[in-house]
């Protein structure tokens, strides 16, 4: 039956950052998508010029550890190196002309010149007259691809963390990613999620205060009226942040993948759902 229906395995989800490398092998089941295998390794403190080599070495080690022979993968652009906007398509405009109009829009919103950026137009489900305009820094994206290829991976897409978290938590109103040294708040505004990146290594009280402020601003700007807030953080940090955020009336919950609470490979798992039109985490 697998020969007939399971036409191609889902690609690996790969998170590459200066903090950690995470690889998830997803698997379709009757209940949904599960992480069949996962690999996480913290990147040691090393000079920047040695980082790419170190990431490649960790990736190769990860692929030797994992049993999966699948080498297709989904990567994630760093928070600061990509942005997304809603792009309204004028009636009757063909796709080719829309791509040129998106380039003009990118000139306005992107901080990188046209020769140093990658522009992508992706459909927004349920919206025929709108597209998702994404702009990434070409050098960074090519560097990620080169690291992946050095480990004999075959990248099929580079997603943004905000979209990956949106797919992972479709029922939540916002998500606080405090799993790295630099926390990010993703507000799931409709249809394009927006994010706010905080200063590195903020203490919990300061981080909670800025998150509350960000959520108030989101409600003020009519982006989203947040009630349910997911927090992705290590267990100890979640225990510290939850009371600080829950006191404001938000329903604060930890991120869960199945029965596991906030595994370090959650973002990699979210990236692995990129090919799915709809999914549910088992």
């Amino acid at each position: 039956m697998n020969v007939l229906f399971d036409v191609r395995a889902l690609p690996l989800g790969v998170e590459l950052s200066a903090d950690r490398v995470a690889v998830v092998v997803p698997q379709r089941t009757r209940e949904g998508v599960v992480a069949a295998e996962a690999f996480v390794e913290t990147v040691p403190e090393i000079p920047d010029d040695e980082l790419d080599e170190a990431l490649g070495a960790i990736l190769r080690r990860a692929l030797q550890t994992l049993r999966s022979k699948n080498r297709r993968c989904i990567l994630s652009a760093p928070w600061t190196e990509a942005l997304s906007r809603r792009f309204k398509l004028p009636p009757g405009m063909p796709r080719g002309e829309a791509a040129r109009a998106a380039e003009l829009e990118a000139d306005v919103v992107a901080p990188w010149p046209s020769s140093e950026r990658v522009v992508a137009l992706d459909p927004i489900p349920g919206r025929k007259r709108e597209l998702l305009l994404s702009i990434g820094r070409a050098a960074t994206l090519e560097r990620l691809v080169a690291i992946a290829k050095s480990a004999r991976l075959q990248p099929v897409a580079i997603d943004t963390p905000a979209c990956a978290w949106r797919r992972f938590a479709p029922q939540a109103d916002a998500l606080l990613d405090a799993g790295s040294s630099r926390a990010a708040l993703v507000v799931f505004s409709d249809p394009v999620p927006s994010f706010q990146l905080f200063a590195p290594r903020l203490i919990d009280e300061r981080l909670a205060a800025q998150v509350r402020l960000g959520l108030i601003e989101a409600r003020r700007d009519s982006e989203a009226d947040v009630h349910r807030l997911l927090v992705f953080a290590a267990h100890e940090r979640y225990d510290a942040l939850a009371p600080l955020l829950g006191g404001e009336g938000y329903a604060v919950e930890p991120v869960r993948v199945g029965e596991v609470e906030a595994p370090a490979w959650t973002l990699a798992f979210a990236l692995a759902t990129w090919p799915l039109r709809a999914w549910s985490a088992a």
């Binding site: 990509a82 990658v118 927004i124 489900p125 994206l141």
Partner: protein, 193 residues
């Protein structure tokens, strides 16, 4: 589900005869050619199947035509026999009707003769009739000619001769009646004063 793909476009090239061609372009072109080949092969196969079926149907019809050749010959012979019998019937009918027509003509001639004129004889000649009779005056002879012409349309009556015997009051005349549509030569020879 919302998603983004910021994967930079591949710039891999393939060296062919010294030229470096874009791998994706080559792949797309090869895919297009393969698609066209598949469509062409499919169309060719369908047409070949149709042609084979039509050839089989044509062969079957030809065999049917061949098997019916003897029957067609019988039908043709029957049709020829029917045509010959119809011709015989027409000829017999014409012969049967011909006597009636002569009798009717004789009656018409008799009825057309005025009271003061009597007939001596009616002879059937080539292309018509020769009527001989007698009258007491030349006016009666003329009235006879006019009466015959009126009562027998299509005939062309002509006075052939009028004679009187010595010291007799009786005029003997002869009329030539040409049948409708006789040959021109007969008409030309029929009337002589």
């Amino acid at each position: 589900m919302i998603r983004v793909n910021l994967l930079p476009a591949s710039r891999e090239t393939v060296p062919i005869f010294g030229a470096h061609l874009d791998r994706r372009l080559m792949r797309d072109a090869a895919g297009g050619v393969a698609f066209l080949c598949i469509v062409s092969a499919g169309t060719y196969g369908v047409q070949e199947l149709r042609l084979t079926a039509l050839r089989a149907e044509a062969g079957r019809l030809e065999r049917t035509v061949d098997s019916n050749a003897a029957r067609r010959r019988d039908i043709a012979a029957g049709a020829a026999q029917v045509a010959r019998l119809e011709q015989l019937e027409r000829e017999a009918d014409a012969r049967r009707r011909s006597g009636n027509a002569v009798a009717a003509t004789l009656i018409d001639i008799g009825n057309a003769v005025p009271a003061r004129v009597w007939l001596d004889g009616i002879d059937r000649s080539t292309g018509g009739f020769v009527v001989t009779g007698a009258a007491t005056s030349l006016d009666d002879v003329g009235a006879t000619l006019v009466s015959v012409e009126r009562s027998m349309p299509g005939y062309a009556p002509a006075l052939a001769s009028v004679t009187r015997e010595d010291k007799s009051a009786v005029l003997h005349f002869s009329l030539q009646l040409l049948e409708p549509g006789p040959p021109a030569a007969a008409r030309a020879n029929g009337v002589r004063q």
